[in-house]
């Protein structure tokens, strides 16, 4: 495989393009509503009318508007785009009719809706456009060009320099500068190095990584290969949750196709560079999203975290230097190399560059996936793109960052979405889950829900998290059942502080966050549930000053 061969595949694919394209979303959300049957019916309908010559029926990845699925997009030869929503298998004849101007009463979406118009697609550029199970489609969209560029024109140090310059920060939630991490792994001594992609997207309410893996698996593989070249690794592992069978099967197909074309394995683009990727399937443990636990799981052990340092960059899998990045981080790599660090850095804010994919869910009119530039005000996302809360309700808060994050009250909707601003509010960027809650939501109940989650998912290795989450959950239940007094609330706050500061890994250290943030902004909801204390007020009768709203 050389550049000419790559370009030949792209040309051939483009030459085979037909005038009209019917795209059916084949992501897990739409698949659950018979998207595969819809696609079959469309195909049969096109063939029955003898339109195969001008109409292509394509299976594509996620278009993002999951709440309105199943979706079918139409690209006309005059550049018009149409979108059909809530499509049923029996709608196929009507949709094919509409291509020739026939009547069609299937609900149409508006491709110019703010939900689409306000997005900037870098990671999801191919989502909903290309067939995720066809490497030729990916190559026709410019795929694997960036890999060729780094292997033939750049030194590893130059690649790291480019990534550093782009300002990309870890998209798993913590926001560690990616270039810096790569540099550390590259500098670590040792012959054998590994690259690991963290696809253990455990946050409830988040499905960005699933969608990227299902819609554009080659983008992630290409990013991993570029990273491997930059840090000097020859073996990669893709750790994916067992809950994502569709993503796993598409990755398996993608790896097989890339190997066949010589884009993975030995002698890629006829250079000495070797890179192999193995898939490792998780087995349902939230804590495996923590990098040291993930490594234990890749090694086939119980996924329990270990203290850091040593950081994985120095001593990771089997004691070798290991680079661990999230799916979305890897998905950003090829576009950065292909279009330059300066182009990438032109999006976003001073400290948070580029775009971020969010999963917009909960009590919101437009459910789905969006990719927006960093620094966009939360209000734009929730009200303009998301269309506000349904049924005329008011939005009460937006929860970001899953069980490690916090709830941002509606008064702060003008906050720009970037790492620092969200941290200031006591929440975190997290992996990108955004759950909207309306005024019917009980915040104490939400805090209890997250604590129950952390209690179940605590791995049990360190005592503060193992025992603390149980006690905090018990206190929250007591409060929710109106059996608690101010004493219990004070105890809860003390426990939050203790668990936060003494747990071994991120799970325990951030488990109190939902409680702390709801206490900070919705303290009255807690206090309304408290009962009078038969022994008089505790202490000096004052609540803990540490947690009083600032």
């Amino acid at each position: 495989m050389q550049l000419d061969d790559l370009n030949a595949i792209a040309e051939k694919e483009k030459a085979a393009a037909k005038k009209v394209c019917l795209r059916t979303c084949m992501s897990a959300g739409c698949m659950s509503s018979q998207a595969d049957v819809i696609n079959k019916n469309l195909d049969a309908e096109v063939k029955a009318r003898g339109l195969e010559g001008e109409v292509e029926v394509r299976r594509v990845g996620c278009m993002g508007f999951c709440g309105q699925g199943p979706l079918v997009g139409v690209d006309h030869d005059d550049g018009r785009h149409e979108l059909f929503e809530f499509v049923k298998p029996e709608d196929a004849p009507a949709i094919v009719n509409s291509l020739k101007g026939g009547p069609c009463d299937v609900q149409r979406g508006d491709p110019q809706h703010p939900f689409f118009a306000k997005q900037v697609k870098i990671v999801r550029a191919n989502g909903g456009i290309i067939d995720p199970e066809s490497i030729e489609d990916y190559i026709a969209a410019g795929g694997y060009q960036a890999l060729h560029q780094v292997l033939t024109e750049m030194k590893p140090a130059e690649v790291i320099e480019e990534i550093t310059k782009s300002g990309l920060r870890g998209r798993g939630g913590a926001g560690y500068p990616t270039g810096l991490k790569w540099g550390t792994v590259a500098k670590s001594p040792g012959g054998k190095k590994y690259v690991v992609c963290n696809g253990d997207e455990g946050d409830p309410g988040a499905f960005m990584d699933r969608s990227v893996l299902e819609s554009d698996p080659h983008l992630v593989l290409e990013g991993m290969a570029i990273a491997a070249y930059a840090v000097g690794a020859d073996q990669g592992f893709l750790y994916v949750r067992a809950e994502y069978p569709l993503a796993i099967s598409r990755l398996q197909i993608a790896i097989k196709q890339a190997k066949q074309l010589g884009l993975l394995g030995g002698g890629i683009f006829e250079t000495p560079f070797i890179f192999n990727v193995d898939i490792r399937i998780g087995a349902g443990a939230f804590v495996c999203g923590e990098e040291t636990a993930l490594m234990a799981s890749v090694e086939g052990k119980r996924g329990t975290p270990r203290p850091r340092p040593p950081f994985p960059a120095e001593s990771g899998l089997w004691g070798c230097p290991t680079l661990i990045n999230n799916v979305e981080t890897f998905a950003n790599i090829a576009p950065i190399i292909g279009r330059g660090a300066d182009w990438y850095a032109s999006f976003g804010t001073e400290k948070s560059k580029g775009t971020k994919v969010f999963a917009l869910t909960g009590k919101i009119t437009n459910n789905g996936l969006i990719e927006v530039p960093m620094g966009i005000p939360l209000r734009q996302i929730v009200e303009e793109m998301g269309g506000g809360a349904p049924d005329g309700r008011k939005i009460k808060s937006v929860q970001t960052g899953g069980p490690s994050g916090g709830c941002i009250p509606a008064d702060f909707l003008d906050t720009p979405v970037d790492y620092e601003s969200l941290t200031k509010l006591g929440s975190i960027m997290g992996s990108g889950g955004m759950v909207v809650m309306d005024d019917t939501t009980n915040m104490v109940e939400i805090a209890r829900f997250y604590m129950e989650f952390c209690m179940d998912e605590s791995c049990g290795k360190c005592i503060p998290c193992r025992a603390g989450t149980v006690q905090m959950h018990h206190l929250l239940e007591k409060i929710a059942q109106r059996k608690a007094t101010l004493r219990d609330l004070i105890k809860l706050e003390e426990l939050c502080d203790m668990v936060k500061n003494t747990s071994l890994c991120g799970l325990g250290q951030t488990a109190p966050n939902p409680v702390l943030s709801t206490l900070k902004f919705f303290r009255k909801e807690y206090e309304d549930l408290l009962q009078p204390d038969q022994f008089g007020p505790p202490g000096n009768g004052q609540p803990n000053p540490q947690s009083a709203p600032k």
Binding site: A285, K301, N367, V435
Partner: protein, 173 residues
């Protein structure tokens, strides 16, 4: 008399291997282990395959895996019990997994769950006494756009209500 000289552990292992000798599924599992070159770090992949073949991981099966991968049984058991995905008890003929992720939760997955519990008279994680239905929960299956989601026998159903879920269960009963 000889049996008394052999520790119970070895006895159990021998029983497990006897058990395995007549069952074709163990052969398939062994082929799968061979594909991974009997590497110890492929333990989780092997357990996934074992559960796919047998439906759940019984003790004999775990002993067999430990023996073949040359791992202490404690480690295999430790891994099997650590991860939620592995079942150590037989599952019902049908499985119904209610997603309790945040998005499903704020949209009323708890009501669906309660309705199912009342109808089946079992708690999450249990199987009905007639072995028909297992009721399970998931933490988030990533189908948040179509919340609340329930997985019936591996097929995800979108936007479920208590009525829809009960109707589905009644078809199984």
């Amino acid at each position: 008399m000889q049996a008394t000289n052999i520790s119970t552990g070895q006895n159990r292992l021998r029983r497990a291997l006897d058990h395995a000798s007549g069952d074709k599924r163990f052969k398939i599992l062994e082929v799968h282990m061979k594909k991974h070159q009997f590497r110890q770090d492929a333990l989780i992949e092997v357990l996934h395959k074992a559960q796919e073949l047998f439906g759940y991981l019984e003790d004999d099966l775990l002993l067999f895996v430990a023996h073949k991968l040359k791992l202490p049984p404690s480690r295999v058991y430790g891994v099997a019990t650590f991860y939620h995905f592995f079942n150590l008890k037989p599952q019902g003929e049908h499985t119904c997994v209610v997603c309790l992720g945040t998005a499903c939760y704020v949209k009323g997955a708890d009501k669906v769950m309660n309705a199912l519990q009342d109808r089946l008279k079992i708690r999450p994680g249990e199987t009905t006494p007639d072995g028909k239905v297992s009721l399970l929960t998931a933490r988030c299956i990533g189908a948040c756009g179509i919340a609340p989601a329930v997985t019936y026998d591996g097929h995800v159903a979108p936007k479920q209500t208590a009525e829809a879920a009960l109707e589905k269960i009644n078809q199984w009963k």
